[in-house]
Symmetry: C2
Subunit: 243 residues, 2 copies
């Protein structure tokens, strides 16, 4: 158990754990590549789906930036539909509309990492657990059902009409769970999420997801944040927190 966990638990007990979803609880990349290959085989489309899925995921932040900068909030289906179209056009690939829509809906059929289900179940015994994702509620409800992941509350950036890492997203979740930031932890595989959570006083908990960007790409580095808890998975986190 990293020394930090014991020290932090002694300072201020956590009551709520918030979980990022895409990349942290579920493996978007391999799931979407597999889905794209299966979906497009009928239309006879040949393409480097791994590269396309990576491009698509990279187009996600700039699309959300428009909302963060004040554009009317739109849900992730709407943003992903647009970014997928752009990615395919740039690569000169044409997909039947129904196939493109299947890929957009594919974000509701992402496999959990092997430790996610059991880890969440163990953490639920001691903490109130909630998602805090940029996916909207309708997407999250379908995805959590598909992946058989159980949390105590399904929260989304949608409830703040924003997108992470906007501070209002974290603050809205804390308000809804009636939890001061010092009694909450944010569990994520991404530094930007944890920086933003820590900035409003939530304890940052980094989960290293070695395969998020595939076997050839090193995982994200943990952010340099005071009091960071670092783990290699939710089973590891559950154990470290005595669940």
């Amino acid at each position: 158990m990293p020394a930090e966990i014991g020290i932090l638990a002694a300072v201020e007990p956590m009551r709520v754990l918030l979980f990022d979803v895409f990349g942290t609880l579920v493996d978007w990349r391999s799931s979407l590549i597999e889905l794209a290959e299966a979906t497009t085989v009928g239309a006879g489309v040949q393409a480097d789906w791994a590269a396309i899925v990576d491009d698509w995921r990279r187009a996600y932040q700039p699309a959300m930036d428009l909302v963060r900068q004040g554009a009317t909030w739109r849900d992730l289906d709407s943003l992903q539909r647009e970014t997928l179209s752009g990615v395919l056009t740039r690569r000169g690939i044409w997909l039947p509309a129904a196939d493109a829509e299947s890929l957009v809906r594919g974000w509701r059929q992402l496999r959990p990492w092997p430790d996610s289900r059991d880890g969440l179940d163990r953490l639920r015994r001691k903490y109130v657990t909630a998602t805090l994702s940029n996916g909207h509620l309708a997407l999250l409800a379908d995805l959590l059902k598909f992946a058989d992941l159980r949390v105590d509350a399904v929260l989304s950036a949608q409830l703040a009409a924003g997108y992470k890492p906007d501070a209002k997203v974290y603050l809205t979740a804390l308000r809804l769970l009636d939890c001061p930031p010092e009694n909450a932890g944010m569990v994520a595989a991404h530094a930007s999420d944890l920086h933003a959570a820590a900035a409003v006083g939530i304890r940052p908990i980094f989960v290293r997801r070695r395969l998020e960007w595939g076997p050839g790409t090193p995982p994200a580095d943990p952010p340099a944040l005071d009091g960071l808890i670092e783990t290699d998975g939710l089973d590891h986190l559950a154990e470290a927190l005595g669940c």
Copy 2:
């Protein structure tokens, strides 16, 4: 299986089921009476807790009316704290503050009806299930964990900054689940909830809870609504809907 179910399912398939919580999924009355007796035995308070709990529950609607009429939204803990104080004062009972607070928190420790857990699990296989309660999210997250009830999304009137039966509560839930009213059902033991849901186009599903107000009091009558589905429990409903 009532004839209506087959007819309705043929007209417009349901995708989402919304569930009232207090009275419909959990037995607030016997749980709170038991909790009150156990909580107050230490302070040596003698009282007719069944009558007090019934009075407290009846004070719930007038308290919410103030919010419905435009007062600033407050959560159920805040309303119930105030109504409990009024009920106790009218009966000349004084409780230590910590005991009164235990009763307010008691709404997070209500036993499910015997069919609720299994019925919800069965209904989840075919439908997206969500609570739609006047309890706030923090309360619902604790209560569903206590009662071990699993739904796909935990929704509350809080997300509309209102209280049922305000139409905006139902419309906000439908918007969040991206579901047109004709593809949703509202499951409740109370006519007012079902009237309001039906008024915005949601299919009304009545669950008869014979013991909601105790063994001596007859249960609420089903509302006279077109296309009403009537059931005696969630297991019955699951069976009728082929889950």
